[in-house]
Amino acid sequence: MDNTPFNAWKLVSLSPLPVWGLVVLGVGLALGIGLAAWGVRREPSMRRRWLLWTLRLGAGLAALFFLLEPGIRNLQVARMKNRVAVLVDRSASMNFPVEPGGETRSEQVADFLEKATPGLAALQDRYTVEVYGFDPELAPLTTEAVAREPARAGSTDLLSALRTAAAGAQGAKKLSGVLLVSDGADNVELAGGAVGRARAALADLEVPVSTFLVGKEALKDLAVQRVKVDDFAFVRNSLTVEVEVSGRGFGGEEVPVVLRQEGKVVASKSVRFESSDDVRTVGFTFTPDQTGRFVYTVSMPVFPDEAVGENNTRSFVLKVIRDRVRVLLVVGRPSWDERFLRGLLRQDANVDLVSFYILRTMSDDPGVVSQERELSLIPFPMEEIFDTKLDTFDVVIFQNFGYADQALSIAQYERNLERYVYEGGAFVMIGGDSVLGEGRASMPTLGEALPVEPAGPANAEPFQARLTAEGLRHPVTAMASGASSTESAWASLPTIPGANLTRPKPGATVLMDHPFLTVDGKNAPLVAVWDYGRGRALALATDASWNWAFTAHRDGSPDRTYDRFWGNALRWLVRDPDLTTLKVTADPASVEPGKPVGVVVSSRLSDYQPAEGAAVRVELVAVAVETQKPVAVRTGVTGPDGVVRLEFEPPAPGPYKLLATAKKGEQELGKGEDAVAVRAVGPELSDASVRPALMEQIAEYTRGKAWRLPLDGLPEVPLLEPPVVEVGRAKDRPLWDRWYYLLALVGLLGAEWFLRRRFGYV
């Protein structure tokens, strides 16, 4: 037998009647009272009327009492223990000192938790108190661990931590409240404050969150908060980098902000912080003059009393690409070959074409009185295009351009052109009757940059151009993914009426050749390419490739081989990154502090097949002003797809280059490079400030309370009451079965009856 005493009671109805029966009787009673009142409504004496009404109402209530049969139910009940979650911020910003030279924020938390221990223990009779650290995953935490283990998380996500804690309340134990201990430096959902959806999400928690702010606002710190820049920029086009810098404790001071490209200063500005807690935006406008991937660094000086110095620098990687390939087309004279190449280049949105044609030589007689007024000709600006502006072109094309006349000879600019190619430019020589051994202008200096040299008189017999084995896979002549479709594309083209006779130089790659015209026992080249110094050159030993563009359509079906050939050639000449044999890609391009530097190297043979089993060597080189210092080397072997991924130990923050070489046997497979930025601080450490306003908002929107540390103990925090549940037995004790209740009912009815008779009512 259970002898546990009852610890709760409640009033209940013990009537055996069903609810609907009680309702019917109750309605009947109400009607009786109402009709009685209606019957005496004309009674002139207010006193009598009220007396009768009161007696009838009292009798009605007494009758209702007997109908309901009220009783006391004695109960044994118990309270469920709900949970209270203490969430401690374990993000890296908690390692900042509360004040310069003082204890860290985590140490301040540990101190608070220790002092709050009695208060938390006092909650234990009604709640289960659970202490978690969030980094950003929730994990049980002890006070000792808070003090001993440094906080490491790279981000602060308060809302996620609160959601996780609330989601854990789906079981038997519900969450009655949260004690959130943090510096409020959220950099995820609440980075912009508790507004909009974030505010609604806080309210949806339906749990009071009491916040305890750690740290002080008075810390002195400069930080590069944000860099706004696109992932890529166009070479020779100005771009603006917007940098958001914050200064706390630097009110009225001017601080220099410098933008560097791999150590070299690109731009610098001064920023003046107007208040002691100010954020300013600085715009740097500059014009990249080279394509490639580069690491840029924005930095401010580190002052001795700053809370954290690492956040004064921020690096980012910028990919500089061509907006349009700038092509200089120099034409010896108007021809169909020129017409179709021009038509193609002009309609290519990726090409910015600048062209100069020799429309008239000194031997031509236009038959005019005034050349100035009657002809549209302009002087050939040789000095401008072959000297001062030469470097502004990505590709220079000579189309049957070769004059020995003093007025049109470029002899004095040949070395410029040769150097232009050697130092990274691109050059195309298209044949004809004035070049490649024909005509009187031999251009020997410029010829040094060409992959072919004259080998005899041109041959005017029509021929079908033939693709070589190298041409089958080379990006200039490969027309499709498969070798057979490339072959059939070229084979379907019409014959070409004539070619210059040339000889390939050692190191040149012949992509197409002549089927029967030979040089030194080998088929004469028609299309040949090579790398010359840092540049590239292509020779096309005919002036009749326009037949591929026009004559090819005589049988009806459109043919784009000519368009693709020139499109491919331009991409290859300007070293389109997708066409290099050794492709180096930092993975990722921007590395968070403490993370390894990854690099993916994709190697191809000279015929552009994947280079399986190639030995790859990658050097990680720190880039500083005017110097490059090797930091580490990794080697690997490519797989069947010609790709290998290598990883470097986390290096010190800063800009780096990844310089790769590959070899297969004794064959060099080329060089490649990429840039990688190793960041000094992640988003977590870029701002040392505390955010009391956010912590107060969280408390307000969840009906909690906000405090600031230090505190000497746990204050009274709002918590939801734990629910009560019945356990064990219950016992009913009737209240209605007393004789005096019956006497009261009879008395009230009798008194009313008596008075109605007395006042003259029936």
Binding site: S335, S376, D543, H553, P558
Partner: protein, 236 residues
């Protein structure tokens, strides 16, 4: 008499590298201006750096060989019978993929004769590209000589008409018998009088011919930004 002007330097590549006008052989009187075409080729050689073969090669409009000659002359004196479907299709492809057609009303007609027939047939060949007047700012008027008008043997219409494919004038049409002004007999005399302007008008017609050939060869070269300031200055 034309030969001495021709350079021998292009011979190594054969004649296919040179400018050779093709002539459309149609059902009407197509061959009235062959000497004019030879003459304009010769003028082109004499006055510019272009290498030519001073010939006029006739081809049926349905011929696939047309695609070796990107400059095509289509003239006529009087009405033409309708083109066959094969001719329409071949000419459309020729123009679409880069060919240039100079149409010339040798009869100076307007609304009848060659004019009516040509407009009818061109509407079949390029239904999406109606003939429109070429503005005086068009590159045809500055492709070599600076010109203000488009005279031929006649001066019936001050303007040329053109049918564009994209931005390119694929067809240029003169109602002034421009080739009539170029034509010479085998003795070297001009075959037709030029009116109303006489010999100065003939010279302008020759210059127009040179410009038309230059346009076919160089497209909009003279519209390039590097030329504009100088040309505008000359036109002042």
């Amino acid at each position: 008499m034309l030969v001495p002007l021709l350079s021998g330097r292009a011979s190594a590549f054969g004649e296919k590298s040179r400018f050779i006008p093709a002539v459309a052989r149609h059902g009407g009187r197509w061959d009235a201006r062959l000497s004019g075409l030879r003459r304009i080729a010769w003028e082109l050689q004499r006055r510019t750096s272009v290498e030519v073969v001073p010939d006029a090669r006739p081809f049926a409009l349905s011929s696939r060989d047309l695609f070796e000659y990107p400059f095509l002359y289509l003239g006529g004196d009087g009405p033409l019978p309708p083109f066959t479907d094969a001719e329409v299709e071949n000419l459309r492809r020729y123009l679409t993929f880069g060919g240039f057609l100079l149409a010339d009303a040798n009869d100076g007609s307007d609304g009848e004769g060659f004019d009516a027939s040509f407009r009818r047939e061109l509407a079949r060949v390029l239904p999406q590209s109606p003939l429109k007047p070429l503005p005086s700012s068009h590159v045809v008027f500055k492709s070599f000589f600076l010109l203000d008008s488009a005279p031929g043997r006649l001066l019936n219409k001050p303007q040329l008409l053109a049918a564009n494919i994209g931005k390119r004038a694929a067809v240029v049409y003169s109602q002034n018998d421009v080739a009539g002004a170029w034509s010479r007999s085998e003795l070297g005399d001009f075959e037709y009088d030029v009116s109303p302007g006489g010999e100065p008008q003939r010279e302008l017609a020759v210059r127009l011919g040179v410009n038309l050939c230059m346009y076919a060869l160089c497209l909009d070269y003279k519209d390039d930004a590097v030329h504009l300031p100088l040309i505008l200055n000359k036109r002042r």
